[in-house]
């Protein structure tokens, strides 16, 4: 049942992209400066676009029984499989930027692994996404440095963001049966080294920005099994209201 495993993996990876994209879109019209408003909206668009591409491939592999819109707009909280870090509230600008930086570095490693997937569409989506994420990483890393090395207030807000988000990072690299199955069937290469590689890269950027990486802290998990924080329900209420209020609506 490799197709089923791959389908489920594409959906949960798409869930990460969709939910973080929606969180970013909440900044539209509210960012501190115009250029940043444009940048966050662009990054949101890239993430939602990746979600659409992954959902589309998942639906094709699943025989077309579901559509990407149904996956995005007609599933409930417990059916989403995104990691918890992406559903947390956007917080202040520092929280949004630090989250996006931590997540984009993870995505870069994940999509590099997926770019050797035997399914040519999935490999192509990964190849496309890597190039987009390089801009996300660059943009967010530069902001992390500005905030960390800026004023006392910007540094303390960035440090608070790191402290609050770090306990949600291990879930991104959590091993489970789905991943093991995909690695065993050769759909994904072994991901053993990615967690250490991510920690290394991210720790360097944070310390360059004079930010302190928390030592062994409790790590929250549950998103991959559909156990979410209270925040996802509120997000879905807003994101899905039009689709749910006007079933099968076309415009």
């Amino acid at each position: 049942m490799t197709d089923l495993a791959l389908t489920n993996f594409l959906i949960r990876t798409g869930d990460d992209c969709l939910i973080v994209g929606h969180r970013l879109s909440e900044w539209c019209g509210h960012a501190p400066i115009l250029e940043e408003d444009v940048a966050l909206a662009n990054i949101a668009l890239d993430c939602i676009g990746t979600a659409n591409a992954l959902y589309t491939r998942a639906c094709d592999l699943g025989g077309g029984r579901r559509t990407p819109d149904e996956l995005a707009f007609l599933r409930s909280v417990t059916e989403f499989r995104n990691a918890l870090i992406v559903e947390l509230p956007r917080g202040d600008f520092a929280r949004t930027i630090v989250r996006q930086y931590l997540f984009a570095e993870y995505e870069l490693l994940l999509f590099e692994a997926l770019s050797s997937c035997p399914d040519p569409e999935v490999a192509g989506i990964a190849g496309r996404t890597i190039n987009e994420r390089k801009y996300h990483v660059r943009h967010c890393r530069e902001w992390v440095a500005r905030l960390g090395l800026g004023t006392e207030e910007s540094r303390s807000r960035a440090q608070a963001a790191v402290d609050e988000l770090w306990p949600y990072t291990a879930e991104l690299f959590q091993k489970d049966k789905l991943l093991e199955e995909l690695v065993a069937s050769g759909v994904l290469p072994g991901l053993d080294g990615t967690s250490a590689e991510w920690t290394d890269v991210v720790s360097r950027s944070l310390s360059d920005a004079s930010l302190v990486v928390p030592a062994d802290v409790f790590q929250h998990v549950g998103g991959r099994e559909g156990r979410h924080t209270e925040h996802l329900g509120h997000l879905l209420d807003e994101m899905q209201i039009v689709a749910r209020s006007h079933p099968d609506g076309k415009w």
Binding site: P120, E121, G124, G127, Y135
Partner: protein, 170 residues
């Protein structure tokens, strides 16, 4: 580019490509989809005309419109049963844009994309410098990696003092 003609028809692949040259990017209406390099395959059969295109940016909202425009123009020109497939299997890059396409962009006021750096280079690095499409000066500065559409970055020319956009290298 894969080009297959399974059977001799009155009009073949070159005719399809010429017709596709009329389909313009709705966001940059001087650039057609052939010059952009997103047409990855054309198949002409007696009862079907299948055009495969590669998405530019994964979230680009222009793709759906381009798809509709392809169907519309091929139908209008009498090609049998036009279909559009969108496939990521061949990853589009700005290096696929033709010289003609680059010149059109520049004339339109958008700096054409820089060539992609070799692996493991980062396209964001080569995107920092772009020649001003108005005065040609290379004394420009990057204002933001993100512009008015997914494919463009914001720049400023220190010589002619003109803000401008560049097509982002990807």
């Amino acid at each position: 580019m894969v080009m297959q003609s399974t059977q001799k028809t009155v009009r073949g692949i070159p005719d399809v490509l010429t017709t596709l040259g009329e389909v313009l990017d709705p966001e940059i209406p001087v650039l057609d989809i052939v010059a952009m390099g997103i047409v990855t395959s054309v198949e002409v059969e007696p009862d079907a005309t299948v055009v495969t295109i590669a998405p530019t940016y994964s979230g680009c909202p222009a793709m759906r419109m381009i798809e509709n425009d392809i169907i519309e123009v091929l139908t209008r020109k009498g090609f049998p049963h036009p279909q559009v497939k969108i496939s990521f299997a061949r990853v589009w890059s700005t290096d696929d844009m033709t010289e003609e396409g680059r010149a059109k962009l520049r004339d339109y006021g958008i700096a054409p994309p820089a060539p992609r750096p070799g692996e493991p280079g980062d396209p964001a690095d080569v995107n920092r410098t772009a020649a001003c499409p108005y005065c040609g000066s290379s004394e420009t500065m990057l204002k933001s990696f993100f512009g008015s559409t997914a494919c463009k970055s914001l720049h400023y020319c220190n010589d002619c003092l003109q803000p401008f956009e560049a097509f982002k290298c990807i």
